[in-house]
């Protein structure tokens, strides 16, 4: 059974027009997205800024309200629950944020930051049990248990990200949405956090939705990866297959744009013209067609491409994507 099943999820934000007039336009941040996550799996999500990947992650844990669609977590629709019900379910799914500087309350000690999660869900019977659990969690993420009475400002970025992870772990979740968990960290510290996330997954069987813009990091940590463009998923495949034989022209361009350390394996770079269009008025037909190097008129400009399986477990939304024989 799937741990998480997202069906036709839409998140639209109204664009305000003044005091009296109603919003007439919407930013379609997430527009008809469906996917599944199995227990203990890591699903990567990549895309450029403004493509809706953070909104998608937040909608799944209901930090933003979905406009339409279903978010089935262990078979129950989170999107349709009352706020109170949803809050109790949050024990099963947590989130780790990008910026370890703004996501921890500077006035709370580590014990209170991590302990708050235990309090909300009534997971600590006594004060001493709470302190003991916090100490366990700090050690689980590689921090000294003696740090419990310190404040976030006493720690470096990497250590703070560990605190954020300990807070998410406190309630023993089955799914953690990781929104760019390493992109604010120094390069030499990123690997520590990635290894920690992998270790915790093995120990506790946690599934991750791992959102990032760094393709190499996503490929490393994920079993499957999906690519998002302008509010839609354009490709979904096993991590290696996606990187080695991308089907969607956007994925191909994205991969080719990654600067390569090794000069010998220099790949042919596909430079996309222009910028990402506005998600208020996405282009008709295939949303990528104005920048697509292989777009065919009039097909791509008029018909929205269907989501189809081009190879074993390899899905793409492109009229022209070749299927494996």
């Amino acid at each position: 059974m799937n741990l998480l099943e997202v069906q036709n999820l839409k998140v639209h934000f109204p664009v305000k027009h003044g005091v009296l007039s109603r919003a007439r336009e919407f930013v379609k941040a997430v527009d008809d997205v469906s996917f599944r996550i199995a227990p203990g799996e890591t699903l990567g999500l990549v895309g450029e800024s403004g493509c809706g990947k953070t909104t998608l992650g937040r909608a799944i844990v209901r930090l933003v309200e979905p406009t339409a669609g279903r978010v089935l977590f262990e078979g129950e629709d989170i999107a349709a629950m009352s706020a109170g019900e949803c809050r109790m379910r949050r024990r099963r799914f947590q989130m780790i944020f990008q910026d370890p500087y703004s996501s921890l309350n500077p006035r709370m000690t580590l014990e209170d930051i991590i302990g708050e999660a235990l309090d909300i869900h009534g997971l600590a019977e006594s004060k001493s049990a709470r302190a003991k659990r916090v100490a366990e969690l700090l050690e689980a993420v590689g921090l000294d248990a003696a740090y419990a009475q310190r404040y976030p400002h006493e720690f470096s970025g990497g250590q703070r990200q560990r605190i954020g992870i300990a807070r998410a772990l406190a309630v023993e979740p089955k799914l953690i949405v990781c929104d760019e968990p390493v992109s604010a960290l120094d390069v030499s510290v990123q690997a520590q956090i990635i290894n920690l996330l992998q270790d915790l997954q093995q120990q506790h069987g946690i599934a991750y939705l791992f959102i990032a813009h760094d393709l190499a990091v996503v490929e490393h940590i994920s079993r499957r990866v999906m690519v998002m463009y302008l509010g839609r998923i354009v490709e979904l495949a096993e991590a290696k297959a996606l990187i080695r034989s991308p089907k969607h022209p956007y994925t191909q361009a994205l991969i080719s744009a990654v600067p390569e350390v090794d000069a010998e394996t220099k790949r042919q770079r596909i430079v996309l013209p222009g910028d990402v269009p506005s998600p208020i008025h996405p282009p008709p037909g295939c949303r990528f067609h104005p920048r697509c190097p292989i777009a065919q008129q009039p097909l791509c400009a008029t018909a929205s491409p269907e989501w189809r399986e081009t190879g074993k477990n390899h899905w793409a939304a492109c009229h022209l994507a070749k299927s494996d024989a």
């Binding site: 199995a38 227990p39 203990g40 799996e41 890591t42 450029e48 800024s49 470096s156 990497g158 120094d186 390069v187 030499s188 510290v189 990123q190 690997a191 520590q192 990635i194 290894n195 992998q198 997954q201 093995q202 813009h213 393709l215 190499a216 990091v217 490929e219 490393h220 079993r223 495949a237 096993e238 290696k240 297959a241 990187i243 080695r244 034989s245 991308p246 191909q252 361009a253 994205l254 991969i255 080719s256 744009a257 990654v258 600067p259 390569e260 350390v261 090794d262 000069a263 394996t265 220099k266 790949r267 770079r269 430079v271 996309l272 910028d275 990402v276 190879g311 074993k312 477990n313 390899h314």
Partner: protein, 345 residues
């Protein structure tokens, strides 16, 4: 004579009664038309070093303790304010990380480019020249775009405007401080292509600051790796990437995950994407062994807290007790390859 020669630059930041060394004995030279990358993590002193070339670091809080910066043979650290004004933009131009924060939000971009022209080449301060520059950096419809305000442009477009402004005075040296860090990869590719193209057409030297080793492989002729205020390795880029010598450079390269080889697009992948059919839908992570990255333990040392002796020693996998005694010298171990570690073999 080199275009730029930094010799034993030392710079402190004053914090209260303390004087904290941010740049400690950096020497680096740049020939005309060359691209050199300065690589390092936050707080290693790379930006301060680069900004010192036109003396952009405010003093105080900064204080130049020693060394010299020879630009075309003249020491920037001893220049008068008028002379500094002439070299800023005239000889060396800057492109910074956040184009949105570097542009003035209340002036049209064309006017901002013209301002740079007025200062350095008053005769050329015309709309036609602004249009030529915008065209040079690949902005479509420059005639109408020059009337845009910065907020009307995307980040990639803003960075192109910044580059146009930097090029207006035809500098000999372009210092690009993380010019693509705030941009998406596809836009980053556009900007890097533009810089490479401009360098060839205009013959300027580029000092490119980055923390991304991929960009080094893409752009650099030579590369200097900085750690905690010092250059720890200096080498031709290809050689350094193929065979890093300093333990920090090695550890850094080993800790970064690399993209699978995608150079064989169109061919069949050498392993089936999914092992077997029934397990496909619910295949678990154990389908492939979890690789671990080789993380560097500990944290990047902060200014004022640099360890004694070799500054990388506390995090170094090959550290010996004597590493903490004295700071090792930067030594030329092979022609053109400098390493600050006696145990690099």
């Amino acid at each position: 004579m080199s275009l730029l020669e930094i010799r034993n630059l030392r710079l402190d930041f004053l914090a209260g009664d303390e004087s904290l060394r941010a740049v400690d004995g950096v020497s680096l030279s740049l020939e005309a038309g060359e691209t050199v990358c300065l690589v390092g993590e936050s707080g290693c002193g790379k930006s301060v070093t680069a900004q010192s070339i036109a003396r952009l670091v405010p003093t105080p809080p900064a204080r130049y303790v020693g060394g010299e910066i020879l630009l075309n043979g003249r020491d920037v650290l001893n220049m008068s304010p008028t002379e500094l004004c002439n070299i800023r933009g005239g000889v060396v131009s800057y492109v910074f990380q956040e184009p949105g924060a570097s542009l003035n939000p209340v002036f049209r971009v064309g006017a901002q480019i013209k301002e740079s022209l007025k200062l350095h080449q008053p005769a050329k301060a015309t709309d036609a020249e602004v249009i030529r520059l915008l065209k040079l950096v690949g902005i479509p419809a420059p005639e109408s775009r020059m009337r845009n305000y910065p907020f009307e442009m995307s980040g990639g477009m803003q960075q192109r405007v910044m580059i146009a402004m930097a090029l207006a005075s035809e500098p000999k040296l372009l210092v690009a401080d993380e010019p693509t860090t705030a941009l998406d990869v596809t836009i980053q590719a556009q900007i890097l292509d533009l810089l490479r193209d401009l360098k060839q057409r205009l013959g300027m030297a580029i000092l490119l600051i980055t923390h991304n080793l991929g960009i080094v492989g893409d752009m650099a002729d030579r590369v200097a790796v900085m750690y905690a205020g010092q250059i720890v390795e200096l080498a031709p880029a290809r050689e350094l990437l193929r065979r890093p010598l300093h333990p920090y450079t090695r550890a850094l390269m080993a800790s970064v995950p690399k993209l699978s080889d995608a150079s064989r697009w169109g061919e069949a992948t050498d392993e089936p994407a999914v092992a077997n059919e029934s397990a496909a839908a619910t295949a678990r992570e154990d389908a492939r062994p979890t690789k671990r990255l080789q993380a560097i333990p500990g944290n990047v040392p902060r200014i004022g807290n640099f360890p004694a002796g070799c500054r990388f020693a506390p995090r170094c996998p090959m550290a010996k007790p004597e590493c903490s005694n004295a700071i090792p010298e930067l030594v030329e171990v092979e022609p053109g390859r400098w390493v600050r570690c006696p145990f690099w073999r």
